[in-house]
């Protein structure tokens, strides 16, 4: 440490604030609205919340896929039923025509 740096240290030594500084800080603390300790600020709770949200989203996704599958299945069955009824109708017509031509 050089004499110049000693002078600098002396010039920049710590100062005391006003004598009532502590009391004023404590008064401000007392007057400040109480910050409710949020449980979410706890890291483990944040992790649990994140995991729960992920699980809910995953379950929702699976459920939606299942719903879509069921819907597609019922649409296919409906299409098969319609096609079947049309086919039966056509078959009846063919039989009717062949019966007329033979008689």
């Amino acid at each position: 440490m050089t004499p110049f740096e000693d002078e600098l240290r002396s010039a920049l030594r710590r100062r005391e604030p006003s004598p009532d500084f502590t009391e004023r800080v404590l008064a401000r603390v007392a007057a400040a609205p109480v910050r409710r300790a949020s449980g979410v600020s706890q890291p483990w709770i944040r992790w649990v919340a994140a995991m729960a949200a992920t699980l809910v989203l995953a379950a929702g996704g699976l459920e939606y896929r299942h719903y879509q599958g069921e819907r597609a299945k019922s649409q296919v069955l409906l299409a098969v039923r319609i096609a079947g009824s049309k086919l039966a109708k056509a078959q009846r017509k063919v039989q009717m025509l062949s019966h007329r031509s033979s008689s």
Partner: protein, 182 residues
């Protein structure tokens, strides 16, 4: 950052009022040396302690409190200095000299030095204050300011050279001012 101990600060028996009394001169002085305005420095110091009170549950050791207070005070004072722009940003080279006629002896040397430090750019000023007020080494200063150690060292050397040069010039105009021989 200082290594945190497992036990929370509250378990150490330190109450908030004791923390304020213990650290108020450090917090106030950093703010005062960076802002050069007693009222603003006190206001800022109060804000810092208010913030400490809100984060008290997160403090895990007295070292953690000390580090937190230094870092928060320095950063807030730097922000305040930039925001206020009470005087135009000037480099030390172009900063006005302290009035030489007021320098009549050693007691005025401190005043002259403080004025010259106040004319430094904010970051250099913070480095000088943390080095000579808080007696931190460059590694600790780098941690507080979140800048590379090399930057701290180079800015500190540059600031010291400029301060020395300016002070020598001022001393030449004020014969009563003692600089001390190196």
């Amino acid at each position: 950052m200082p290594r945190r101990t497992a036990a929370p600060l509250a378990a150490g028996g330190l109450d908030f009022a004791s923390l304020v009394r213990q650290h108020q001169s450090m917090v106030f002085s950093i703010a005062w040396h960076l802002l050069r305005d007693r009222a603003v420095a006190e206001e800022l110091a109060q804000d810092v302690f208010l913030s400490l009170h809100q984060h008290l549950a997160e403090m895990e050791s007295p070292e953690h409190v000390l580090y937190w207070l230094r870092r928060v005070t320095t950063n807030r004072a730097l922000d305040e200095a930039r925001r206020r722009q009470r005087r135009p940003m000037v480099s030390l080279e172009s900063a006005p000299e302290p009035v030489a006629v007021t320098l009549t002896g050693d007691p005025m040397l401190g005043t002259a030095l403080r004025k010259l430090v106040a004319a430094l750019p904010e970051k250099s000023r913070a480095i000088v204050v943390l080095r000579y007020q808080e007696d931190l080494d460059p590694t600790e200063i780098a941690r507080v300011l979140a800048i590379p150690v090399g930057t701290v060292k180079s800015q500190l050397q540059r600031a010291l050279a400029l301060l020395r040069e300016k002070l020598t010039r001022v001393a030449g105009q004020a014969p009563g001012l003692s600089l001390g021989k190196e």
